[in-house]
Amino acid sequence: MARASETAAVGDLGRGRARPRDVRDLGQTYGAAAALALLVLYNAVFTDRFLTTDSIYVNLTQVAPIVIVALGMTLVIATGGIDLSVGSLMAIAGALAPLIFLSDVPFGVAIAFVVPVLVTGAFGLFNGVLITRFGFQPIIATLVLFIAGRGIAQVLTNGELQPFRNPAFQYIGLGRVLGIPFQVLLMLAIFAIVAWTVRTTRFGRQILAIGGNEAAARLAGVPVNRVKLAVYGISGLLAGVAGLIVIAINSSSDANQVGLNLELAAIAAVAVGGTPLTGGRATVVGTLIGALILQLLRFTLLSHGVPDAVALVVQAGIIIAAVFLQRQRQT
């Protein structure tokens, strides 16, 4: 009974603002979706061989690690926080996995999937503990591991490139199921779980309630600290998964490079997708679309001979335009 009433309270809290929010989210998602559709259409017409499975899979495999990290980031940002540590956590997972499967541990490959992700999940919890128990601002709390995390990965590997060839492990980055790259399926599965979580579960409503008004959420009985801990833990877990995918694709792990600037890419994807950085609202579909827009934009520019450096400038313009349009819609 207690449980039911708690759900009701949180539900009410959410429902109070739910309708206008939903409409707004829909508008934003459609705006981003329209932009994505335009990009796809443009490429279909003007880019050679764009609508081939090869080129579609190239784009999807490239975007998969960013989407996976950005999904965790969406949850964090929905609580009004931010996670700068994800790129460094990817490097830690990427450094740990080869250390495990290149050693003589029994079931090395299985352990190489599980342990690195658990470790980065634990680091994510560490972020959460700093924020909930010690009152750190999220940006500072996660800045600690942003700085130290890459150092940990570099110390683990002595800063050296670790090349490897291990088909069983690399299935996560190179494997195909019915012709579809495995990490694309993994990305879609994680996307589905996160979207379902935000849309239908109590946990999802609690996340949004905290981001909307933390004090009110606390008064309404939301276990604020536990939810935040979970959110940062999830972000850490997902960063670990993304790190494993990246090293599997590269057939090597470079602690200096894995996940570099990925926190920025993920935050940009979330922002372009229409989740405001102030928290309280989240569109998981938007994040997927935002990441796809940024990926496809870069692909489009590169395939038309625009240098990567110029593509960065265009990306910046798109990010500003996206948040500007969202702001217009809010006011």
């Binding site: 940006i139 570099q154 400038v313 990010i319």
Partner: protein, 329 residues
């Protein structure tokens, strides 16, 4: 106690706490200097001291601008990329001599800062996203202009004097470092600008109701931050003898760490320029001490340990600050 204190008193207390926090960084710095001086030969040698200060001048400039931005409750993630862009611009115009070689990159930085400020102040966009986008744009511009490689400066025109000239035994970058902070302290201590900055960071709506020109002040702090990042880029080009389009990655976050260690609150409304100076010196000195410790040969920590130590240090300092602040209120 806490519940009965009036807002005015809690602000006084918070101010007190922030002073203490600034002094905390100074105490830690003094202890580290003492440790180094007792443990290592040549730690206080003029060579080590001057090269340390000259190397940290660019981080100092960036952190100074960041202090003002953060005091308004904002943030500027673009500074590292702006410094890289400015270093490329400096190298390209270095053939026209020292004055142009300084003025143009600083102007470029200031203009970028104005764009950031306009989008934040009039566009009402979040500083984090605006300056994140500017980070990408400035990096892209730097790489495009430089053609993806470093750009050599003109060694004939006198531009490199910036990296080599000494005045009263101190290298030019150290003078720039010192003068910038002197001005920073004076501006923060004696002008209405700083009160406006702090008022906006404390409560923007109240500041607006009091008749402060919020937009103009915000524009000012982002332009200042951009200009100082531009100057840091000039120093980078002068010291390396080349414009470095790929340098400055992560400088913004190190600067934020220095500002926070110095006792400036990330939420705005409270800040200390002197504290930031101690923060910059403290973070720089950790590397310096680690190098000396490695030189003694007892331990041999790879450079990779530096970032772990730095992260751990940031953790401890903020932990202590939070404890202090909690005790104050």
């Amino acid at each position: 106690m806490a519940t009965t204190s009036t807002p005015a008193r809690s602000i006084t207390r918070a101010r007190l706490a922030s002073v203490l926090q600034g002094q905390g960084a100074l105490v830690a710095l003094a202890l580290l200097v003492l440790f180094g001086a007792l443990r290592y030969d040549n730690f206080l040698s003029s060579y080590n001291v001057t090269s340390f200060l000259a190397n940290n001048a660019k981080f100092g400039l960036i952190a100074l601008g960041m202090t003002f931005v953060i005091m308004t409750g904002g943030i500027d993630l673009s500074v590292g990329a702006v410094a890289a862009l400015a270093s490329v611009v400096a190298a390209m115009v270095s053939e026209y001599g020292l004055v142009v070689g300084i003025a143009v990159p600083v102007l470029v930085g200031a203009v970028i800062g104005l764009v950031n400020g306009s989008l934040v102040a009039w566009g009402r966009l979040q500083p984090f996203i605006v300056t994140l986008a500017m980070l990408l744009a400035a990096r892209g511009l730097a790489l495009t202009v430089a053609g993806n490689q470093s750009v050599a400066v003109d060694f004939e025109s006198g531009f490199t004097a910036l990296g080599t000239t000494t005045l009263l035994t101190l290298a030019a970058p150290i003078w720039i470092f010192a003068v910038a902070y002197l001005l920073g302290v004076l501006v923060l201590g004696r002008t209405p600008f700083s009160r406006h900055v702090l008022a906006i960071g404390d409560n923007e709506e109240t500041a607006r109701l009091m008749g402060l020109r919020v937009e103009r002040v915000k524009l000012g702090v982002y332009a200042l931050s951009g200009a100082l990042a531009g100057m840091a880029g000039v120093l980078l080009a002068a010291q390396y003898g080349a414009g470095q389009p790929a340098e400055g990655v992560g400088w913004e976050l190190t600067a934020i760490a220095a500002v926070v260690v110095g006792g400036t609150l990330l939420t705005g409304g409270l800040g200390s320029v002197v504290g930031t100076l101690w923060g910059v010196l403290l973070l720089g000195l950790i590397f310096n001490v680690l190098n000396f410790e490695n030189g003694r040969g007892v331990i041999s920590l790879s450079p990779y340990w530096q970032s772990i130590v730095l992260g751990g240090f940031l953790l401890v300092v903020v932990l202590l600050q939070n404890r202090l602040a909690a005790r104050q209120t």
